[in-house]
């Protein structure tokens, strides 16, 4: 066609006009740290595995999850999920049920027998892990993944440490522990039960170990001085819970008083109900909202008939009577005695005032630095003794399964670096994806799915698991509630809303790129990005 001059033009010729020159600022894709990931003590990339779960690709999701935490099924039961507390979705409607999805994935793995990927390259190094609790298992798993030979020495007759001996089975069925542990062992990790270590150095020499990880749980209940006529009636929570693992269940009686406000206190009180106690009373010196125990646990305990007595300390325990002193909170929120006393009947008094780690095994390492009953470690989880690393309850701080798993992972990576003679470096953290960076318009209103619960009668009389699992549909729904804070989830909104077609879509999984030849820097993509994964920057000169 001989087209008329100037008034008739060839299509698409405006590509010659590079409108990028109009720009004074430019959009840049960023990855921000989602609050869930930021708060996960196990260092899970929660958002990433939710991403896969959203697609219904559960095995991929599980594999993504276990890159950080091998104990998915356990974690989905016992983690107090601070991630959910931090979840930005909580500010929109309700936080994403991350823990439920994690449990679903862990259970799927156990149900279908998914195994960890086989170790591809052996390092030739041997690492000793002491304790098969969450810290030890996590360290062993990660060390093995990195190609190291791992031997776990466990003093008890069963694996799992405090998970088995400290957590009631209505919260964590023993089969789940067995399954998650077995999967780790299947990687080639060696577990030796009934093997108490007294001399670490000797054990290392004997076993030809290049490094050691200490992951011993806090199994000693703290005692408080309580004037008592009959010490038989006073026991501690750790002992009660430990005996629950054995064949002979503890005999607590009809009326049980538990002293303390932590999760262990609640565990014991709920256990007592299940063992037949008509009255299971928690005595705590402050108020309910100040209880360290997880709110959900407390709520469930109350549902099950556990009673709580606030602002009370136990002054004395005689015969079948316990003397309680009323407290009041001072201006700073600390409880102060009032001198007002009352008595209550009790067949047993269980002290749940905290736990200590039995540091007996360190006695042969006299120069090991211990501070306030906890093993001191550096940023690489290494103790003052070279080649000896530690984690979990031993090093103090937050004593949860999740934290222990996190310690184990970090220690394993540090040990691996140590064994390879390189410095241990952690990846720098991204800027936090705070709620204000999101454009929540783009997320449909979708309230959280409530996990099924065991009916109340069975909860009061059996040790069946209280919290059920999500079915597949609800797990999927829950996973899809994730807003992918701070990280592109390929929603195509930037690609769509650019008036200048200056966003290049790279295809599934490859995200997008800006075409700065045409981007005029209007900022629409930044404003409309649902998850805050684009930032405006000053145009470089």
């Amino acid at each position: 066609m001989r087209k008329p001059y100037a008034i008739t033009l060839d299509v698409g010729s405006s590509l010659a006009n590079l409108t990028g020159s109009w720009r004074t600022q430019r959009p840049v894709y960023v990855d921000r740290l989602p609050p869930c990931n930021a708060t996960c003590a196990a260092g899970e990339d929660i958002q990433q595995w939710l991403f896969h779960a959203e697609e219904g690709n559960y095995e991929t999701a599980w594999r993504s999850l276990v890159r950080d935490n091998p104990l998915a099924a356990i974690m989905g039961r016992v983690c107090y999920h601070p991630c959910e507390g931090a979840c930005n979705r909580g500010q929109l409607d309700e936080s994403v049920g991350i823990n439920a999805v994690e449990r679903f994935l862990g259970d799927e793995a156990n149900r279908y027998g998914w195994e960890f990927e086989p170790v591809t390259a052996e390092s030739g190094k041997r690492v000793l892990v002491i304790g098969s609790g969450p810290a030890g298992l996590s360290a062993a798993y990660h060390l093995r993944r990195l190609g190291n030979a791992v031997v776990i020495l466990e003093a008890e007759t069963s694996s799992g440490g405090m998970m088995r001996y400290g957590i009631p089975q209505y919260r964590l069925p023993r089969i789940t522990i067995d399954q998650d542990v077995q999967r780790i062992l299947a990687m080639g990790v060696e577990l030796r039960l009934d093997h108490r270590v007294d001399d670490i150095e000797q054990t290392m020499r004997d076993g030809n170990f290049d490094a050691c990880f200490l992951g011993v749980g806090s199994q000693l209940g703290k005692r408080a001085y309580i004037p008592a006529g009959d010490a038989r009636r006073i026991t501690d929570a750790v002992t009660v819970l430990h005996r629950m693992a054995g064949d002979e269940k503890p005999m607590l009686g009809r009326r049980v008083v538990v002293y303390g406000g932590g999760n262990t206190a609640v565990d014991v009180a709920r256990t007592a109900r299940r063992l037949g106690a008509e009255d299971s009373i928690i005595v705590y010196r402050r108020t309910r909202d100040r209880m360290p125990a997880h709110r959900d646990e407390v709520r469930e305990a109350i549902e099950e008939g556990v009673k709580l007595k606030w602002l009370s300390t136990i002054a004395a325990a005689d015969d079948e009577l316990i003397t309680v002193e009323k407290m009041e909170l001072d201006e700073k929120g600390f409880p102060q005695p009032t001198g007002e006393l009352e008595t209550m009947e009790a067949d047993a008094l269980v002290l749940a005032l905290g736990q200590d780690v039995d540091l007996e095994l360190l006695s042969k390492l006299p120069d090991l630095n211990i501070v306030h009953g906890a093993v001191a470690v550096d940023g690489a989880q290494m103790t003052s003794r070279e080649g000896v690393f530690a984690g979990g309850d031993m090093i103090g701080g937050e004593r949860t399964v999740t934290a222990a798993v996190g310690h184990g992972k970090k220690a394993a990576r540090a040990i691996d670096a140590y064994l390879r003679g390189v410095a241990f470096k952690q990846k720098p953290k991204h800027q936090m994806a705070t709620y204000d960076l999101l454009n929540t318009w783009y997320y449909a209103d979708a309230p959280k799915t409530v996990r099924p619960k065991l009916d109340i009668i069975r909860r009061q009389s059996t040790f069946d698991e209280v919290i059920g699992s999500l079915d597949e549909a609800t797990a999927l729904y829950e996973a899809r509630r994730c807003m992918s804070c701070g990280n592109c989830f390929e929603c195509d909104t930037c690609y769509g809303v650019c008036p200048d077609n200056a966003v290049i879509k790279l295809g599934p999984g490859k995200r997008f790129e800006f075409n700065y030849d045409y981007c005029k820097g209007c900022g629409l993509c930044v404003a409309e990005c649902p998850c805050g994964a684009i930032r405006m920057e000053r145009e470089p000169n």
């Binding site: 066609m1 008329p4 008739t8």
Partner: protein
């Protein structure tokens, strides 16, 4: 085939023979019969392969034609007077876009005062709009010019107006030799657009052009139209060969060779002029006439060649450039630049006033004796305008001029001339 038909019917049949594909119709006197006839032909399926669209205004009529033409359809419409002005923006646009639309103008005066009768002010208002303007002297020529116009428009990718004096031709029953479909098909090939809206080969039509190219675009429009100065005679010649009669071309001289006085005019008034020329020739006056068929492009060379030998030129024109006088005569003077020949402007036939032989004869004789003024209004009622001017000068609120004059003249229809 010879036929005795109304001019509008003849034009409609000629248009139909050209196989138009889209016809846009909006009624305005005096072109209405043309589109009515075409509409009937389409409705009765005598004219097939044609969309007949009743639009809501002349502006829409030409706009629909623009869209259709740009999409590769042969598009046609017709209008007159106020209608042409109402579509003015689209008139310029069609030519600017180089769309070969053919449009009939049933020439009519422009108000106010509103007037439905014939003059050529409407076409003159669009003389610079980039359309080729052909003026028909008879209904036979109106038929023939439409056939040539389609070919001309499409070869040059320029729109063409065929100007037909309203009522005088459009409503006149006279003999027309109507060509056959085969003849027209042989003369007018199917439309091969120079540009077309087609998803298979997309283009942008109607870009915004700035100072950097606008002059060139305008020059090219001029260049394309000037090409018509050789194509029009060529087509007329080819037409004559195929149809056996002379029609179209740039100018038609009549008894001009030895004329000392030459009359130049556009359209149907040339018939009356020829009769007067014959009468004066019988009286021994060396007079002739030249009918200008192509007013745009203006055939300056051809016209000069036809008239330069005369001692004086009288331009009879049915339009008025208020504030200067003649429109056609300005162009005629340009054609005669440097020749030193007086060109007299005679404004005649405004708003349907009959141009009579008697009046023409009078001015021709006057001109021949070199007594004619530079600008003359034929049959102007001097007494009426004189009284109105007096009234205007004596009173601030002198009232509407047209109504004042009408009051003075009495009813319109009781007069014959």
């Amino acid at each position: 085939m010879l036929k005795q038909v109304e001019g509008s019917r003849a034009v409609a049949e000629a248009v139909a023979l050209c196989r138009p594909e889209v016809i846009c119709a909006y009624p305005i006197t005096p072109q209405t019969h043309i589109v009515e006839n075409l509409g009937e032909m389409v409705k009765a399926e005598h004219l097939t392969g044609c969309e007949f669209i009743n639009v809501e205004s002349e502006f829409a009529a030409l706009s629909v034609a623009i869209g259709a033409s740009a999409t590769g359809a042969r598009a046609y419409t017709a209008t007159a007077s106020q209608g042409l002005l109402f579509m003015a923006e689209a008139v310029y646009n069609a030519s600017g876009l180089g769309l070969p639309i053919v449009m009939t103008i049933g020439n009519r005066a422009i108000g106010a005062p509103i007037n439905i009768w014939n003059d050529q002010q409407d076409s003159m208002s669009m003389r610079d709009a980039g359309w080729i303007q052909l003026f028909a002297e008879t209904n036979q020529e109106a038929v023939d010019l439409h056939i040539q116009a389609v070919r001309l428009a499409e070869e040059l990718s320029v729109p063409v107006m065929v100007c037909v004096d309203g009522f005088i031709l459009t409503h006149a029953y006279e003999r027309v030799d109507m060509p056959t479909q085969e003849q027209v098909d042989a003369f007018v090939p199917s439309y091969e657009p120079r540009q077309i809206l087609d998803p298979a080969e997309p283009v942008t039509i109607g870009a915004m052009v700035g100072p950097e190219a606008f002059t060139e675009v305008r020059y090219l429009a001029h260049y394309r139209q000037m090409q018509a100065l050789w194509l029009i005679p060529e087509l007329a010649e080819e037409f004559e060969q195929q149809f056996g009669r002379a029609s179209g071309g740039l100018v038609h001289p009549y008894r001009s060779e030895d004329a000392e006085t030459l009359v130049v005019a556009l359209g149907s008034v040339n018939g009356t002029i020829k009769d007067v020329v014959d009468q004066l020739r019988d009286d021994g006056v060396a007079i002739g006439s030249v009918s200008v068929t192509s007013f745009r492009p203006f055939p300056a060379k051809a016209l000069r060649a036809a008239i330069v030998h005369a001692k004086r030129i009288v331009v009879i024109e049915k339009s008025l450039a208020v504030g200067i006088g003649g429109i056609v005569s300005t162009d005629v003077r340009m054609a005669l630049a440097g020749a030193g020949r007086p060109v007299h402007t005679v404004v005649a036939g405004l708003g349907g006033r009959a141009i009579t032989q008697a009046s023409l004869r009078e001015v021709f004789v006057k001109a021949h004796r070199d007594l004619l003024e530079y600008l003359t209004f034929l049959d102007l009622r001097h007494d009426v305008v004189h009284r109105e001017i007096e009234r205007l000068e004596s009173q601030r609120r002198s009232g509407p001029v047209a109504e004042n004059i009408l009051r003075e003249l009495g009813s319109v229809a009781d007069r014959i001339g």
